[in-house]
């Protein structure tokens, strides 16, 4: 090969680089180690994390059982090591599963069209906001304070640079649902979108219909966000929404210390050309057989460049596939049953540890333990190998005495009894 290249050593291939830019020393990284040692390294790191703890954490990332079929499917080399399906003839596997994913998301959310996934729920929020701005021609966004705090942070980062004013409206201190009067007061004709989460960050089913009325009356779109996808197994999808966006981590995506996850954006037919990210469409091949391909690519960065609907290139194909397999395994009946179990578990816990808010909740709720500040309570729980709920003080100063507790189908009754005992 060197002879073909006309050099006597591979080093010569770099000779044309200016001397000044060359790295004159080896990289200061240890030499390579064996497969066994690599496994050992990560096992040691894993051992330094929580192992064997019962957890009551939710807050946007949920502990749900991952059916074994999920990893069986995504571990296939054809799915794992394949590229973006730009060459439709040899990517029908990926394209078909994405088409099925888009369909299932529409069925789940009640929307007409869904894209092939976003990076995650948090980045789907500004993408939805930018969509609303494009669709309405207006520039301002109103967002509920009961939307996940970190999602709101991400929205602000994007909005600041787009010259998109973002204002928050509050929640009712007793019910935990959005303060409709506050929303009405802050609403105006310049608002492109009203963004609401349901179930909200506190786990409470929120006032989507009422928010829709307020938004639509003034020509704004309603964007509904969800972080706990399992809730849609039982809850009516938000039909009044113009855009639904959220997080699919609950569908067989490992918590994995924060990522990778898969977000989604779904919307009504009329906004189809405003949708960011990849879309798979149905067509035929030259023999007349049904075939799928990426479509409406003119919205995207590689064609539209600075006028694109977004700069996003990747979708979370492999992660979305995990969700697709999950939705297939549980199916029509299973997702409902799974949601019912989540509902039952959380309400059992709520029978022992009284919720602070009166609003109806799914599998999470806020609790205030008399005489036990959150940090103290959680310290006691850790001794029993229990990770308690998220102390809310870091996000909501007025709730600094409370925690956000989550119970899923994986939460054992005995652990809930133990938590309740410690909380006495």
């Amino acid at each position: 090969m060197l002879a073909v290249c006309g050099v006597s050593s591979a080093e010569e291939l770099f000779a044309h680089l200016p001397e000044a830019v060359r790295l004159p020393r080896p990289l200061a990284l240890a030499p390579g180690i064996s497969e066994y040692e690599i496994v050992q390294y990560f096992r040691d790191r894993a051992a330094e994390n929580a192992n064997g703890y019962a957890s009551f954490l939710g807050a946007g990332v949920y502990n749900h059982y991952r059916p074994v079929l999920v990893d069986t499917v995504v571990s296939r080399g054809e799915f794992l090591t394949s590229y973006t399906p730009y060459q439709a003839e040899i990517s029908q596997g990926t394209l078909t599963t994405i088409f099925e994913f888009q369909t299932m998301i529409c069925q789940l959310t009640g929307m007409d069209v869904a894209n092939a996934s976003m990076y995650d729920g948090s980045t789907a929020v500004p993408e939805a906001a930018m969509m609303a701005v494009r669709a309405t021609g207006k520039g301002r966004v109103l967002v509920a304070r009961s939307l996940h705090p970190e999602y709101r942070e991400v929205l602000r980062t994007y909005a600041k640079n787009q010259g998109m004013p973002v204002e928050e409206f509050g929640f009712l201190p007793e019910a935990g649902t959005i303060d409709l009067e506050d929303l009405e007061r802050k609403m105006d004709d310049l608002t492109a979108a009203v963004i609401v989460q349901s179930p909200n960050f506190f786990g409470i089913v929120d006032q989507v219909k009422a928010a829709a009325e307020i938004a639509h009356k003034r020509g704004a779109l309603l964007v509904v966000i969800f972080t706990e996808a399992v809730s849609l197994g039982l809850l009516e999808p938000p039909a009044e929404a113009d855009i639904v966006a959220g997080e699919l981590q609950s569908f067989a995506i490992s918590p994995s210390y924060g990522g990778p996850y898969a977000g989604l954006i779904a919307t009504k037919e009329k906004y189809i050309r405003q949708v960011p990210g990849r879309l798979v469409g149905q067509s035929v091949d030259s023999r007349g057989n049904r075939a799928f391909c990426l479509t409406l690519a003119t919205r995207e960065q590689h064609i539209r460049r600075e006028k694109a609907t977004s700069n996003i290139c990747t979708n979370q194909a492999l992660i979305a596939l995990m969700a697709t397999v999950f939705m297939t395994v549980y199916g029509k009946e299973g997702l409902r049953e799974l949601a019912l179990q989540n509902l039952a578990k959380a309400h059992y816990l709520a029978g022992k540890v009284k919720p602070r808010f009166t609003g109806a909740f799914f599998n999470e709720f806020v609790a205030r333990i008399d005489g036990k500040p959150p940090d103290e309570l959680n310290k006691k729980l850790l001794k029993k190998k229990i990770i308690g709920g998220l102390p809310l003080g870091r996000f909501y100063p007025e709730l600094a005495d409370s925690v956000l507790l989550c119970a899923t189908e994986m939460t054992k009754r005995s652990d809930m009894d133990l938590l309740a005992e410690v909380a006495q």
């Binding site: 050309r273 690519a297 003119t298 064609i303 539209r304 006028k307």
Partner: protein
């Protein structure tokens, strides 16, 4: 091929001026370059567009082209046929696939546009 009574721009638009109205479209050369048209994005009736500014765009599968206004004016009509059948832009770009009709605000601007003969020379040279 290129109607004598139309005027043409360097960006491959045509305009047919009749009294104070201009009918605007893209040329046969333009539709050939783009390939199969899949979508046309047109302005709203009532919008005022300056000469040289974008009044919309035409999309094929792999490309998007802005359409620039040949003569300043206000959009009086938008071709309703294109929403359902964008493909007529490929088959009849100078006739049935007109894009918009404008009420001209600066008719003198037509003077600076190319005749059919000049346009044919222009696209011949471009090759």
């Amino acid at each position: 091929m290129y109607p004598e009574n139309y005027r043409y721009t360097k960006e491959h638009e045509w305009i047919l001026v009749e009294g104070g109205t201009g009918t605007v479209g893209i040329t046969d050369h333009a539709q050939q370059e783009l390939g199969d048209i899949v979508y046309v994005d047109l302005p709203k009736v009532g919008a005022h567009i300056e000469q040289g500014k974008s009044l919309g765009s035409v999309e094929s599968v792999k490309a998007v082209s802005d359409v620039y206004c040949p003569v300043s004016g206000e959009i009086a009509e938008v071709n309703p046929a294109l929403a359902d059948k964008p493909e007529i832009l490929n088959t009849d770009p100078h006739g049935a696939a007109w894009l918009v009709k404008l009420t001209l605000s600066a008719p003198a601007e037509v003077e600076g546009l190319m005749s059919a003969a000049d346009y044919q020379t222009y696209i011949g040279a471009e090759k």
